[in-house]
Amino acid sequence: MAKKKTIKTIPRERAHVEEQNPTLRARNFDEVTFCLSPEQAQIETDRCIECPNPGCVKGCPVGVDIRGFVARLAAGDIRGAYEVITETNLLPAVCGRVCPQEHQCEGACVVGKAKGLAPVAIGRLERFVGDTAIANGWTNIPYIEPSGYRVGIVGSGPAGMACAADMAKAGCDVTVYEAFHVPGGVLRYGIPDFRLPNSVIDAEIANLEKLGVKFECNVLVGRLFTIEQMIGEMGFDAVFIGTGAGYPTFPGIPGDNLNGVLSANELLTRCNMMRAKDGGFDTPLPIGTRVAVIGAGNTAMDALRVCKRLGAAEVRCIYRRSRAEAPARVEEVHHAEEEGIDFQWLTAPVEVLDDGKGNVRALRCIRMELGAPDASGRRSPVPIAGSEYEFDCDLVVVAIGTNANPIIGQTSRIKLDKRGYIATDADLATSIPGVYAGGDIVTGAATVIKAMGAGRRAARSMKRYLGLRDTDAVYRPAPSWRERAFGLDPEERNAVRVRVS
């Protein structure tokens, strides 16, 4: 057996990963971060000490066996690593790109806790595995025994895709309904090509189709048929609702209805899904020369960087808290800064000023300072009196969050919570028997991986409801106290068990 890696012997620096030059990439929509090369991936796997009690797995919302896949990768078995990941996560190429790893697996990495060491770049390794799988056309399709049940999924975003995959693997006949003309949900309309190329989404959807999942686009569930009709006359045995929180919030300041003020969702949908940025497509795209984006989440970062790539001379980010509180992935903020985005931290918009013809002329803002912590534990911003200022701009993009999409609530008797989201119990069951819900339509706006986690949890509940065995539960028994005693790793095969008797 090779010499055990320790925190002292591993490479101290992360494997260098190539990125597009910031000045160059600020003018194109190609991906910013390149995939690790096999050699770089090897260096990075060497940094994992394969600790007996991995924090990364607990940090992952879907519990990917990270240590397991990194170990396979270290042994040069990429296919094996892919199979370990796809036990729990269907979309490694997507999650490796868009998960906020610093708050999840990498945030809990033991290596990262050591002084002066960055955590293992789990996200980049996951992407390496996912991209290699796409390039080689690998799929991990288990033997599927048809169960005879029919399952309907409303929404083809990450929650719906995760639920569809699990139910298809359990032998159900799964149909996914999507209101747009192409499947993918927020992955398709929301996340720009330089962060998540369309080819990756196409590959992941093709994998689902290989599992037998059917996609029906151009179907607005609720209006074309209702949830009640699905479990009634349409004969679905169970239904999952993953419609997302698509109903953008506007700041409610004077002038926010002017032409030139639009939601980040609208900008990104026109640019990504309708491909308005490419020649030969009919959808119009508002192009600003001086742009202000309100908000500092991932959507705001995408909007900022899209505007820059569309040719805006000045792109400002207006956020009322400081950089430390910004909800975006650290890497995205860093990339945006590199690309020349002007971040106005601790600044809140006060009024959008018009040019007399209904268009945006300028944005008036006020400086803020951080006061006492609020209910969310973040220090709440307080305006500084007399610090108002304005700057010229012709486009204001609003990325301050979303509310619950009302369509399912309008068209069915399903129980909603006070804020209009679908009310569920701990198993994600709704008030209608056989109907489950998960993702942003239950929790409010969150992340792709959390939505996928919810889709999988709902699938587990649905299988219980239908009386199906949970075929994809990975059996990993928790070690008993006796096995944990004396610091022995029970999974270390050749360790001599010490019995206390």
């Binding site: 029906e216 151009n218 698509g246 926010d256 639009l262 609208e266 959808t283 119009p284 369509i407």
Partner: protein
């Protein structure tokens, strides 16, 4: 087209592939107005008066909202009446023939109109609004209301669906700008006449270009008549996701696609709506000019000339 059979509850065909939206009928009412009847049995069954669809002509097209002008549950079709005002609607006018298909057709979208509470209803349709007001008039009639139809056209040769309106209205007033048939003047002339002769009107429904709906709302405001208007602002998805269709109604902001498209005409800020409809005016004009120069747009110059003669405000496309 026969009237829909409200009671016919056939089971939903779940195995239907929803990608093939065949055009089964087309009629041209004028050089800019045309009718398309599209096969979509599920939507024909689900559609209610006041709802709309989003159409994509081809893979490179834009998504445009169009109000459902009629639906036929026995034939399994929905009817769209389209005015060629922008690049997409003109291109549709050229390429949509019986037997061709649309790339995407999603709907029915929006909250249906509230039918049944009013005993005497005036249904006003101007220009492009003539077609979408028809299903509302028919539904009010079927709910037992006394229906007064008022439809406005530029001249006699542009009049369409007179027979359909006569079949579902207790009274029909036709208004033409040049007076070649019916009353001379726009639909507010007819509306004033209806208000003068009927003291017990419960509700006015007005659909058409924003300027016409605004005029109708101002006509009924002194009489405190409930006035519902159907808004059709610029949209992308039609599901509430983008917020591009937001309109000022009273003190609040509403999304026409999911909160509407029907709103209280006395509360709607029409000036704001008209400004927002011109959001992409420059890009739309540029797109149209680019398209006109290609071989597909050979006859477009002729269409442009006729449109410049005075077509109503664009609706979405």
């Amino acid at each position: 087209m026969t009237s829909p059979q409200m009671s016919a509850q056939t089971p939903v065909q779940t195995q239907q592939t929803l990608s093939d939206f065949e055009i089964v009928d087309r009629r041209d009412f004028s050089d800019v107005t045309y009718l398309l009847e599209v096969r979509h049995p599920l939507m024909a069954k689900a559609a209610k008066p006041g709802q709309f669809v989003i159409v994509m002509l081809h893979e490179h097209g834009e998504r445009i909202p169009l109000t459902i002008a009629d639906f036929d549950r026995t034939r399994g079709t929905i009817t769209l009446v389209i005015q060629a005002v922008g690049k997409t609607t003109r291109e549709m006018q050229q390429v949509c023939r019986v037997g061709t298909t649309l790339h995407a057709l999603t709907g029915p979208m929006g909250e249906p109109s509230h039918i049944g509470a009013s005993r005497k209803v005036v249904c006003v349709g101007g220009g492009l609004g003539v077609a979408p007001v028809y299903p509302q008039a028919r539904a009010h009639r079927e709910a037992g209301a006394y229906v007064i139809g008022i439809v406005g056209f530029r001249s006699q040769d542009l009049v369409f669906w007179e027979d359909k309106f006569r079949a579902c209205c207790d009274e029909l007033i036709i208004c033409t700008d040049d007076g070649s048939v019916g009353l001379k003047g726009n639909v507010t002339v007819g509306l004033k006449q209806a208000i003068a002769t009927h003291a017990d009107i419960d509700e006015v429904v007005a659909i058409g270009p924003p300027i016409m709906m605004k005029a109708c709302a101002e006509t009924t405001r002194p009489h405190f008549l409930k006035t519902m208007v159907s808004l059709n602002p610029i949209m992308v998805d039609g599901t509430g996701m983008c917020g591009g269709c937001r309109v000022k109604v009273g003190d609040g902001i509403k999304f026409a696609c999911v909160d509407g498209p029907d709103f209280d005409g006395h509360q709607v800020d029409f000036d704001d709506l008209m400004v927002r409809l011109k959001r992409f005016a420059d890009q739309e004009r540029a797109a149209f000019e680019r398209w006109s120069e290609t071989c597909r747009g050979r006859t477009a110059a002729a269409l442009l000339a006729s449109a410049a003669a005075g077509a109503p405000a664009p609706q979405g496309g």
